[in-house]
Amino acid sequence: MSCAQDMTPRRCLERVSLMANERVAEGVGLAVFAAPGVARDIRSGQFVHLRIAEGASFILRRPFSVHRAAGDRIEVLYQVLGVGTRALSLAERGAEMDLIGPLGTGWSIPEGVAHALLVCGGLGAAPLGMLAEELAGRGVAVSVAQGAPTAERLVARELFSAAARRHEIATDDGSAGQRGFVTLRSEALMDADAPDVVYTCGPEPMQRIVAAQAARRGIACQVSLERLMACGVGACLSCVVSTVHGQRRACVDGPVFDAAEILWDRDESPEHEG
């Protein structure tokens, strides 16, 4: 680990080993890494940049939010999409990898928040895990609106149920919770709970709707955006997000942004399906 300890959280390159790796939902795995450096310093909403395989024909790292951190361990909740996440899903206990972290801005918890609403779609649940526990630990009332295509693809249900006072679910096919989009539940919860702040992560079109719902009610809203990333540390300018302040880098100026700053639809986010 080439991580200096002379100042507050610096990013380090940390050799980590896989302690557990299991399927937790349809096409979703949970990887637990022994990563003492990052586990100590990470804040909710930050991410790590993981090198899944050496000697493979794919060379770039993959960014993953830290879902939870406890002791010297971090948990990563990942969806199996392409060559990298497939390789991760096949990695076995004891496998060694390395990662860079903690990276990015993380969620900010404004002073005096009494009630927070977390809105997640699909794997958007990943970066909201630590936040839910942290808010609950601070005595903030937490509501969660969670969406997924079907019940089998809901993740982190127990975590949210334990941390939240209200945990409402929407699925596209109605196999759990309300049938329909999670934005129906988020809107209802904004009206019901009048939260001080809304945190959201998920497909960008969903985040945009949630941001608009919050804006209409004058509620502060933070979004977490995904971009293709090469360096993860602010050097390569591959991960830009169009904002009212110009092009910002999702890896260092984000991934968490104040929703009011985002110029939606200027960029293509990686989930787009044309």
């Binding site: 024909s57 794919f58 060379i59 971009r227 090469a230 360096c231 540390v233 591959s238 399906e273 044309g274």
Partner: protein, 306 residues
């Protein structure tokens, strides 16, 4: 390291502690990697491209992964030379490392203006004139694919600066040696190569190019054989030092480039793979020499034979 290897190399009047530099655009201004790399261990930091005014860069997506490589179409996003001097350069001046600024322009006059402006600043040790960026419509590669245009840019920069001038060449040409000769005839102190190869990727889900701009620049280990061949060709065509790059991941890769004719090397895409790549390459290169009883790394330059 048991054996002591003389790692110093010269690029024109510039003396470097060791031959390992950063490749422009892949290391920010060095600050972004300062958590991982002690910059004093590098031969030089080469900054991202700096233009006269701010450049917005290209729309996203700006990168795509390919087998053993990646495509980028960043498009030379930069805040302009004034902002660069005020922020990046001011910081770099405080660091114990030579600074090479990568210079870009939409026109010959802009290249010259940026070069002139930078020559008035402390803490700039050399200029790398980028006539080879494949990611912008005007400026960039257009200057690097014709001998006449390459010569013109070099001449204009040469006239306004006494700093060492390195010209960065494009691999997207039929023959690279004539371009190298054209720029050294105009007084370039060194050439660096290669910039990225023009490439593209198509998303088979969406039937759209992965990069918003369509085409982009290919870098990484995939292009190393092409880069080595071009260094080899240029080495037999010009007498000035060559800075070799393209897919360098290890000290052995760096040694290959030096054997092919390079006096120094630059590490680009490897930084994304491993943020400590630059110093690992430098260590590996030192070890490579030590294990073979090579007293000075510069002995590697051009030592390969068929």
């Amino acid at each position: 390291m048991s054996h002591d290897v003389d790692m110093r190399v010269r690029i024109g009047s510039l003396e470097l502690r060791n031959p390992v530099m950063t490749a422009s655009g892949t290391f920010g201004s060095g600050r972004e990697y300062a958590d991982f790399v002690d910059l004093a261990l590098l031969g030089a930091v080469v900054t991202k491209g700096v233009g006269l005014e701010p450049w917005p860069g290209n729309p996203a997506p700006r990168i795509a992964e390919t087998d053993s490589g990646m495509l980028n179409s960043i498009g030379l996003q930069n805040p302009g030379v004034e902002a660069f001097c005020a922020a990046d350069l001011a910081w770099l001046r405080t660091q114990d490392v030579p600074v090479v600024v990568n210079v870009i322009g939409h026109t010959v006059a802009e290249y010259a203006a940026v070069a002139a402006r930078l020559s008035r600043e402390d803490g700039v040790d050399a200029l790398e004139v980028n006539i080879s960026c494949p990611n912008v419509d005007e400026g960039g590669m257009a200057f690097g694919t014709s001998c006449a245009a390459a010569a013109e840019v070099t001449r204009a920069v040469r006239e306004v600066t006494t700093l060492p001038v390195i010209v960065k060449l494009s691999p997207n040409v039929g023959e690279i040696a004539p371009i190298a000769r054209a720029v050294t005839d105009e007084g370039a102190d060194a050439v660096s190569l290669i910039n990225t190869l023009l490439g593209m990727a198509i998303d088979t889900r969406t039937f759209r190019t992965v990069l918003a701009r369509g085409v982009g620049g290919l870098s990484g280990p995939a292009i190393k054989p092409v880069a080595l061949r071009m260094v080899w060709e240029v080495a037999s065509a010009v007498a000035v030092p060559i800075i070799g790059m393209g897919g360098i991941m290890t000290g052995e890769d760096a040694a290959e480039f030096m054997l092919a004719g390079a006096s120094a090397v630059a590490v680009g895409t490897a930084n994304f793979v491993d943020p400590t790549a630059t110093t690992k390459v430098a260590d590996g290169l030192r070890r490579f020499c030590a294990e073979r009883g090579i007293a000075a790394v510069r002995e590697l330059t051009g030592a390969a034979r068929t």
